[in-house]
């Protein structure tokens, strides 16, 4: 057992914890004084509320979120956890994201986790992830990624998090979470073990696996779920795969995308929030506005072909900073259901892809282009 020293930082952390604990014990009047002062400072600084107390340099302002019933949620995605004894870096990054979201003031309505919590779908990995996410202050909504699923076909996942496909309503917006990484059986004929199957799916460029689909049963479910909603209900669909066809070789792809989009076509405004791509990604097809989530674990390069024209690419991450190109973020939902998608990059300024950008097909509120290549 190595000798341990309690450093000044540990002592500081203990004092800090004591301080915050004591804050909770403030009587109502003092509490109001403290929070009003904080709010006043934020208001005077001219920053819009979503960015909380963290001052930001934004290239343009997102539209005032003063409309009734608009709301904000935060997101964390693609952590690809191994057990912490094996790989501490991925664990640390997820913890950093949880810390970021917990520091938001005011807190978001909920936190959405975009999938790929584990790297190889192992029970200990999923449990570790669940344990870390328990530290989130805001309520958690979670989605399956392929890395979570293909070891045991979702048994442990359902145990921990419940059904992978579900929907709910929030402040007038209908939200749907799909399991969109369904792959046709490629493993039985080859006599693969569960871990073989998992490792095949875990390889982004592994061509033995099948393309992602939503699949007929879920499309049926979706149709039924949406049946009672009118065409101008704002709709947000959460999906791990992008629900359009970007680059098949990396499964940046949903094979039955057109059929899914057809089901969504009758709605006035649909937003798809997807994981899997680990990069800043924007697309619009008809009435559907697609936004990608950042990963906490590592960034992917952009696909060599099939890039949607609306995407303003982020500049190439610096390999000497393992967290560059990663982060978390927020989504500001407006009453019409369209969103400002906020990319909270670590060690970079945050970047917003505003509602007006996708609403105007890229004519207004254009996000700043990088000054370095994106490769």
């Amino acid at each position: 057992m190595k000798p341990t020293y309690k450093s000044v930082e540990t002592r500081y952390m203990e004092e800090r914890k004591e301080f915050f604990d004591s804050l909770k014990k403030l009587d109502r009047r003092s509490f109001v004084k403290v929070s009003t002062a904080a709010l006043g400072a934020v208001a005077a600084s001219g920053l819009t509320p979503p960015f909380s107390f963290q001052p930001v340099n934004v290239s343009f302002r997102s539209e005032a979120a003063s409309q009734a019933n608009s709301f904000r949620f935060a997101y964390i995605s693609d952590s690809h956890l191994y057990e912490r004894d094996l790989n501490d870096r991925f664990v640390r990054s997820l913890m950093r994201a949880v810390d970021d979201v917990n520091n938001l003031d005011p807190q978001p309505d909920f936190v959405f986790y975009g999938g790929d919590l584990a790297q190889l779908g192992q029970p200990l990995e999923l449990e570790l992830g669940a344990q870390i996410l328990k530290n989130l202050k805001a309520p958690l909504k979670i989605m399956v990624g392929e890395h979570d699923w293909y070891l045991d076909m979702g048994e442990k996942w359902k145990d921990l998090f419940g059904e992978p496909t579900y929907s709910w309503d929030h402040k007038g917006v209908h939200c749907v979470t799909l399991l969109s990484v369904v792959e046709k059986d490629f493993w039985t004929a080859r006599g693969m073990s569960p871990m073989d199957r998992m490792k095949t799916v875990a390889g982004l460029d592994n061509s033995v696996q099948s393309p992602f689909t939503v699949g007929a049963p879920q499309r049926e479910w979706l149709k039924n779920d949406l049946a009672n909603y009118s065409d101008d209900t704002p709709l947000i669909v959460f999906s791990h795969s992008p629900l359009y066809k970007l680059y098949k070789a990396w499964n940046f792809w949903t094979d039955d995308a057109e059929q899914v989009q057809a089901i969504l076509s009758r709605f006035k405004n649909v937003v798809v929030i997807h994981g899997h791509t680990h990069q800043m990604l924007t697309n619009r097809i008809g009435n559907i506005h697609f936004h990608g989530l950042l990963a906490t674990a590592w960034p992917w390069p952009y696909a060599p072909e099939g890039m949607p024209p609306l995407t303003v690419e982020m500049s190439r991450p610096d390999p000497f900073n393992p967290q560059d190109g990663c982060g978390d973020g927020e989504v500001q939902v407006h009453t019409d259901g369209l969103v400002d998608k906020i990319y909270n990059f670590w060690n970079r300024n945050p970047l917003t892809v505003a509602r007006a950008y996708t609403a105007s097909w890229g004519q207004e509120a254009i996000p700043p282009k990088p000054n370095r290549p994106s490769y």
């Binding site: 790989n87 790297q119 982004l204 460029d205 061509s207 070789a249 992917w300 390069p301 390999p319 490769y375």
Partner: protein, 208 residues
Amino acid sequence: MSWKSKSALLAAGCAALVVLLWGISQQGLLTGSAQAAVQEQQGQALADAHLAQWKRKNPDRVADWVAEEKERHTVQPPADNSHLLKGGQGEGHTYGQYTERDILTWAREAEKLVVEGSRIFHDASAMGSAVAVSCDMCHPHAANTHPETYPKFQAQMGRVALLRDMINWCLENPVRGQRLPADDPTMRALEAYIYAQRKGVALNYGKH
């Protein structure tokens, strides 16, 4: 001892000797060719045993591992040299007389090193990672490795880096494995794969 018992003893002794000799002869200890035959038999048995053991340990190398790896991960094919079979200057120039088998051998051997590189590139334990990270996690199909930009001055390395220096940096840092010497077979295979995947892109050394 009587005459009878003496001859009986002698006969028994001879029989024993015959049996012994016969037994020894089976061991090839007497005649040269018998000796060689048994040794060959033993050798063959040993070799079979070794091969069986290796097959058990390397199930996916028993079949055509090149084809298997290529099925898993698309690999750029080497250049097509078939144009070298045409033309007339081969006459009187023995070095220029390429055959189809030459072309096939070049392609096959080049491809094997590249495919071996692909195999290692996608396998965290093959590159000695302590954190189960393999190259393809950040570089699917070796994307974003840009080998055509080396040599380039990399300030963090304090010197002009070649592709293998960057590979070593990645091995040490995100992969948390051991650096490899320049002519290590693993390093050579990785380099081969990374170059191969960038086939057709113009060289542009120093580009950052």
